[in-house]
């Protein structure tokens, strides 16, 4: 039981990484991307293929997963980001499906629907981080989440975050303020993609095997749900959302009711969460992060609080 809770925490961490990425794209940039699953898959397969075929260590594959998904983020982002947001949703949805199609069909590289097994465990300073002993793995995952959180939080509080917010609020006014809107949209997209790639890499080394069936559209919707539920434009909220959604996902197993609750229960619930949140609480549980400048609570000199 406790072990099971650790498992939920580990998955919360992996998904939190993806949710952080989705938040910078959707929460800050206001762009609806539906392809976190695609980048997740690219990261997973990068790690799976490089470790099993070429004998790389897990740590060596991480930057590859990062760069590869960033590159794909750029490739899919450049043609579509110049256009209205609605097209982006469709193009990214299509991209995710194509990635899975390719993984399913490119047998010589991906072993098709069978997937790749026997991915080695990560070794750090001679210590094997064994996914079966969940503690060490949990710590590793949360170090990643923490790093990503701090990086993104800083980025969001810098001029880049402000520029991205301006683009979301009013593209024309943002342009007239000297902001290169395409550049910032692509930045956000690449950032969101690359962190999902890292999440994929961690997923591969945690489950020790990858199959195309893991990377469905449902994953993208789940990640979107996490961001919307927690609150768009708030990184803490994304992590909270990831945890709640994972808890909901494993609710049947957690309560021992998996026999009596239909398999589609979670997905229907995710759909309901999206609709209900939009109507009743579009700002999410925690709401958008707001910042106060100067003022009584400040250091008297102003600056970011």
């Amino acid at each position: 039981m406790f072990n099971f809770f650790l498992l939920i925490l580990i998955y919360s961490g992996i998904y939190a990484l993806m949710a952080l990425g989705q938040n910078i794209i959707t929460g800050y940039g206001g762009m609806l991307s539906l392809t976190q699953a695609g980048f997740f898959a690219i990261g997973s397969y990068a790690t799976a293929i490089l470790t099993t075929r070429f004998g790389w260590s897990f740590w060596g594959t991480l930057p590859v997963a990062f760069l590869l998904s960033a590159l794909f983020g750029l490739l899919i982002g450049l043609p579509t980001l110049r256009l209205k947001g609605d097209y982006l949703a469709i193009a990214t949805l299509g991209f995710g499906e194509i990635v899975r199609n390719v993984l399913n069909n490119w047998d010589s590289l991906t072993n098709g629907p069978m997937g790749i097994q026997k991915i080695p465990m990560p070794i750090l300073f001679g210590y094997t981080i064994n996914p079966y002993k969940k503690y060490a793995f949990l710590i590793m995952i949360f170090i990643f989440v923490l790093i990503a959180y701090l990086l993104f939080q800083r980025l969001a509080r810098s001029r880049m975050g402000r520029a991205l917010t301006a683009v979301r609020e009013d593209e024309i006014a943002a342009q007239a303020m000297g902001i290169n809107i395409t550049k910032y949209k692509v930045y956000a997209f690449i950032l969101g993609a690359s962190v999902a790639g890292i999440a994929g890499s961690l997923q591969a080394t945690f489950t020790l095997s990858v199959t195309p069936g893991t990377y469905t559209f449902m994953v993208s919707v789940m990640v979107l749900c996490m961001v919307v539920l927690g609150g768009m434009g708030n990184f803490k909220a994304s992590i909270l959302g990831a945890f709640i959604i994972q808890l909901i996902s494993y609710f049947p197993q957690l309560t021992g009711l998996s026999g009596s609750i239909p398999a589609q229960f979670q997905q229907i619930l995710f759909g309901l969460i999206l609709v209900v949140m939009m109507i009743w609480r579009p700002q999410g549980i925690l709401g958008r992060e707001t910042r106060r400048y100067g003022g009584a609570a400040g250091n008297g000199k102003g600056g970011a609080q």
């Binding site: 701090l150 001029r159 917010t165 007239a176 303020m177 000297g178 290169n180 707001t290 106060r292 003022g295």
Partner: protein
């Protein structure tokens, strides 16, 4: 000295010619008025100069440099800022954040290169940079007497204040040339008087101003020179006194007397 000029600038939408071979010039340091009946092509001319629209033909020269067809953000960076007829603030952001966005491209160039990957060790630098942006934004808010409203959401400001905030945001980009599209629209007479004083103060800072305005009292009072557009063409150009007595201008505004 001519700061900005257009040469035979034309913008056609299908068969409709919104701006037709307009030669428009702006003298540095002055306040230039751009007037004309509704649909005369004033805002289209603004948009074509500031890069939000691309001319069908003709040229835009800024400081003798051809900037025709440059993207809007590049033109802003060269020193041309603007406001909008239908206020375009970042509504969900606070007053000070709106102005801080105006400082965007003034910061973060060489000194912060590579911050992308060095976010952690640049903590101190980031803080300093943010403080600097904040200080400049605050100065501009003080200029408009809006220092106490810093943390209000832009959408919650009264209408007249929103117009002023938009000007403050544009000024935060340190422009040489400022375009104001109907700055007094929707203002009451007191607000308009206050605005006139403000525009003069901006001029006194050495910033050249071009404004579109329907309020003739304001235009005749503060403009050093006026250009009149009608049906997309330049009708007249001159001092307020000349324009006031130009028969073609009177005709365009009031219609012909006979018939």
């Amino acid at each position: 000295m001519i700061l900005l000029e257009t040469e035979a600038l034309t913008r056609a939408y299908g068969g409709v010619i919104a701006v037709n071979k307009v030669d428009f010039s702006v003298e540095g340091g002055l306040i230039t008025g751009l007037i004309g009946p509704n649909g005369a092509g004033k805002t289209t001319l603004f948009n074509n100069i500031t890069g939000l629209d691309t001319p069908s033909s003709g040229k835009v020269l800024f400081n003798q440099k051809d900037i025709t067809g440059f993207p809007a953000h590049t033109i802003c960076r060269m020193g041309i800022a603007r406001t909008f007829q239908n206020i375009r603030l970042f509504k969900e952001l606070t007053v000070v954040e709106n102005v801080m966005i105006g400082r965007h491209f003034k910061t973060g160039k060489s000194e912060t290169k590579g911050r992308f990957f060095n976010a952690i060790n640049s903590y101190i630098r980031l803080k300093a940079e943010e403080e600097q942006i904040y200080e400049r934004a605050s100065d501009w808010l003080d200029f408009f007497d809006m220092g106490s409203m810093k943390n209000e959401l832009a959408k919650n400001l009264p209408y007249g204040r929103q117009r002023e905030l938009e000007i403050a945001r544009a000024l935060a980009t340190d422009p040489k040339l400022l375009f104001l599209d109907e700055p007094a629209a929707g203002m009451n007479p007191q607000e308009t008087d206050h605005l006139m004083a403000t525009i003069r103060k901006i001029r006194d800072l050495g910033i050249t101003i071009v404004l579109i305005e329907h309020d003739m009292k304001l235009v005749m009072n503060i403009c050093d020179t006026i250009t009149v557009l009608n049906y997309g063409q330049k009708l007249a150009q001159g001092t307020p006194r000349q324009i006031k007595h130009d028969p073609s201008v009177i005709e365009a505004y009031l219609g012909k007397e006979e018939e």
